[in-house]
Subunit: 409 residues, 2 copies
C-alpha cells in the first residue's frame, strides 16, 4: 500500500480552522476498529429539537444503502431533534440486503441511545465498497458516545470521517443578519469528488440560523451546484456522496430570504469543496479552469469539465508544461459549440493563443513561469456568447497511480 | 523527455505482418527532418486511376486544417488517380490561416509531382499542435519520392507515419468473392484514440476490390464504429484522427453487396484498432470491457466506455487488483439505466458480483490470478435488456504520466 500519510502540499497553511460553536449541535467520536487501527472512525452528531435539515446526494445509479436511507428521510419535515452517524473504513455500498439491514441496525441503535426518532437518524458510511459493514462495532459504541457529546467536538468529528484524506477539512463564517449574529460551521472529507474506495465525499454543515426546511433546501442545492458540483479530481463519481446542512435555529435569528446568509453558506461550502481538491489524490497543483464566451452556461460547464478531466491536460500541468495544444484538444472533444478560430487561451495572465493560433508575441518561458507555481489558472474564452463556468481540479501525478494501483494489493 | 523507444510489452509477436500487395497502390517515404532526426517522417501513397476513396474523421470541434481539407474532398466522386501525403512530427493543428496555406502548398506540390489533380490529393499531419508546419521540407521531397514509388513499400509507410508509437501497425486479408481473390492491406498509427500531441490516430486501408464510393462509404462508417470507435486509451480525442479506405478496382472483382468483403474489411480495421490499444501510452495490459443486458445498445456503450475510461478502474488493473467496487462505481456514474441489485460482474471467467453484492463463494485469489495476466477481461451484465457493447482499452500506469508529463519539457 502506498504511503498516504504525508499531508498534501496544497493543504491550507495554519491547519484546521477555529470554527464558531453552533448552539444545539454536539459531537462525539470513537475508535470502533471498523477497518483502521489507532484512529477514530465513528462520529455522532446530535442536533437539538427544531433543527431543519436539507441535503444533496450522489447521482450515481449504484447509490449505497445509507444514501438511499438519507434520501428517503430528508424530505420529511419534522420538529424533532436529529442525529447524524458517520463511519469511515467501510462504505456499506453494493452490499445488497445485508447493507440495508446494517443501516437499520445503526439507525435503531442511535435512536435508542439518543431518544431521537429513527426517522431523524441520518447515516453515512465511507470506505471500501462491497464488504459487509461490521455494524455491531458501531452500535456498541453509541451509548458511550451519547455521554461524551460536546459542542466543541467539531474538529475531532472532521478527523473521524477521514479515509485517504491527508488533512481534516473545516470551514466557518459568522455573519450579521438584520443586526443579529448567526454562525455557520462545516466539515468535509474526500480526496476526490470522486473515488469510490476511500475518497468518497461527505460534508456536514451546521448553523444556528432559523430557516424552514423548504427554504433551506433550494439554497443548499444552488450552493452545492456552485461548489461541490464544480470540483473534480479524476472524473469518477462516488456511490456515497452526501451533503447535509442542519439549521438548529438556536440563534433565534430568522434568515428566510437573507442574502447575507445565502452568501455565507455558499462561501463555507465553496471553502470545503476547494479543500477537497487540495487533498486530491497525488495532487501537487491546485487548478482553476475558467471558461467564458460560451454559447450557454451548460456549454461553458461542459468545456470546463472536459479540460479539468483530461488526463493529458492534467499530466501536462503536473509536468509544469504550458501545453496549450492539449487545451485546444479538450475544447474540441467536449461536445460543446466551439469555433477553433474564435478561441483564446491564457495560463495565468499570459495570453497563449488567440483567434485560432498561437498569440502574437507569445513567449513560452512566461507561461512556463506560471506553470511552476502551485496555484494554476487555465482560462479559455470561446468567443461565441456569454456563458461562463469555473471548475476546480488538481493535476494528475504518478502518486495518483501509486495510491490507486496499490491500494488493496 | 521520457524514453519512448522501448517496444510496448503488448506488441504483437512476430513483428510487422506480411501484407498482400495491392496492385495500383505504390508507396515512398523519406526523412524530411520535420521534427525527428534519423528517421522517416513523410509518406507518399499513389493510387491508380479509377480508385474510389471513403473515409471517416475526428468529431472534434477543433479539427486540424488537413482534416478539414480531406473532409471536403472525400465526398467528391472522381475517376482520377489519387495521392495521400502524410507527415509525422507536426500536426498542423490550431495553426490558423498559416495551416490552411501549408495544406495548399503540400497538395499543390504533390499534384505537380504526380500529375494527379489537386482535388484528389489527401494529406494528414500528426505531431505537435500549434506550431506552423515547415511545409517546404515536405514539398522539396515530392519529386524524388515519385521516382521511388514502390508497390512493396507499405511496411516503410507504416514506419514513416509513427510518432510516439513503439511499433509499426499493419493488418491484411486475402478473401474470395464469387470465386475470385481480392486483397486488403492497411496501416495505422496511434498510441491512443486519442492524445493530441504525438499519438493521434491515422489509418489507411487499401484494397484491389472494385466498389463504388457510395457503396464503400457506409461499409467503412459501420466498420469504423465497431473498431476505431470502440477503443480508448485515455478518453482524450485527437484533432486529427483520419481513416481513409481506397479501393483501386485493379483485381477486376466487383464486391458490391459482398458480405465476405465487408467482413474482411471490418477484420482489418478491428485488427489495426486493437494494435493501437496495444501501443497505448504506458500500457502494460490489454483490456476488453464487455457489457451485456443493457436497456439499449447506446446504454451498453455508455457503460462500457465509463468503465474503460475510469482512472480508478484503469489504475486498479495496472495494480492487478480485482477491485470490482470500482466497476460498480463506473456503472453508477455512466448515466445509463442501471439497477444495483441486477448487476453481475466477471473478471475473466470468475463471477465476482451478482444481484447487487459479492457473488456467493467468490474467492479473491481466483480473480487476482486473472488480473496477473496481460490480457484482461471485465464483463458486466446489467440484467435489464438485450443491449451489448465491447470496448478495448489498456491500463493506466505511472509510465503514462511519465510520457505525458515530461513530453515537451
Amino acid at each position: 500500500m502506498a504511503d498516504n500519510l504525508s499531508v498534501s502540499p496544497l493543504a491550507p497553511a495554519g491547519g484546521f480552522p477555529d470554527l464558531p460553536v453552533i448552539a444545539g449541535v454536539r459531537f462525539a467520536t470513537t475508535a470502533a476498529g471498523i477497518k483502521y487501527k489507532g484512529r477514530t472512525d465513528v462520529m455522532l452528531a446530535e442536533l437539538a429539537p427544531g433543527t431543519t435539515i436539507a441535503g444533496t446526494f450522489t447521482r450515481s445509479k449504484t447509490r449505497a444503502a445509507p444514501v438511499l436511507d438519507c434520501e428517503q428521510k430528508i424530505g420529511m419535515p419534522s420538529e424533532a431533534g436529529a442525529a447524524i452517524v458517520v463511519n469511515s473504513g467501510n462504505a456499506n455500498a453494493f452490499t445488497g440486503a445485508t447493507g440495508v439491514a446494517s443501516v437499520k441496525a445503526v439507525t435503531k441503535a442511535a435512536a435508542d441511545a439518543t431518544g431521537i426518532p429513527e426517522a431523524r437518524v441520518f447515516t453515512s458510511s465511507t470506505g471500501v465498497i462491497g464488504e459487509p459493514l461490521p455494524h455491531d462495532r458501531i452500535t456498541v459504541t453509541l451509548a458511550a458516545l451519547v455521554d461524551e457529546l460536546d459542542e466543541h467536538g467539531i474538529a475531532d468529528a472532521a478527523r473521524a470521517i477521514m479515509t485517504t484524506d491527508t488533512f481534516p477539512k473545516g470551514a466557518g463564517r459568522t455573519v450579521e443578519v438584520d443586526g443579529y449574529r448567526i454562525r455557520i460551521a462545516g466539515i468535509a472529507k474526500g480526496s476526490g469528488m470522486i473515488a469510490p474506495d476511500m475518497a468518497t465525499m461527505l460534508a456536514y454543515v451546521f448553523t444556528d440560523a432559523r430557516i424552514s426546511r423548504d427554504s433551506l433546501q433550494p439554497l443548499v442545492a444552488a450552493a452545492c451546484d456552485e461548489s461541490f458540483n464544480r470540483i473534480t479530481v479524476d472524473s469518477d463519481t462516488s456511490t456515497s456522496d452526501t451533503l447535509l446542512v442542519a439549521a438548529t435555529g438556536t440563534s433565534g435569528v430568522d434568515v428566510e430570504g437573507s442574502d447575507a446568509f445565502a452568501t455565507a453558506l455558499a462561501e463555507v461550502m465553496d471553502d470545503l469543496a476547494r479543500q477537497v481538491v487540495r487533498d486530491g489524490e497525488g495532487a501537487s497543483k491546485f487548478v482553476t479552469v475558467s471558461v467564458t464566451g460560451a454559447a450557454s452556461e451548460c456549454d461553458a460547464r461542459q468545456v470546463a469539465f472536459a479540460i479539468a478531466n483530461s488526463p493529458l491536460v492534467k499530466t501536462a500541468i503536473a509536468g509544469e508544461d504550458p501545453n496549450w495544444g492539449r487545451v485546444v484538444m479538450a475544447v474540441g472533444k467536449s461536445g460543446a459549440e466551439a469555433d477553433r478560430d474564435c478561441l483564446s487561451i491564457r495560463f495565468g495572465d499570459v495570453l497563449v493563443a488567440k483567434d485560432g493560433s498561437v498569440a502574437p508575441g507569445y513567449v513560452e518561458t512566461e507561461a512556463a513561469r506560471h506553470m511552476g507555481g502551485d496555484d494554476i489558472s487555465v482560462s479559455v474564452d470561446l468567443g461565441l456568447g456569454v456563458g461562463t463556468a469555473t471548475v476546480y481540479t488538481c493535476d494528475l501525478t504518478s502518486r495518483y497511480i501509486a495510491i490507486n494501483a496499490d491500494y488493496r494489493s
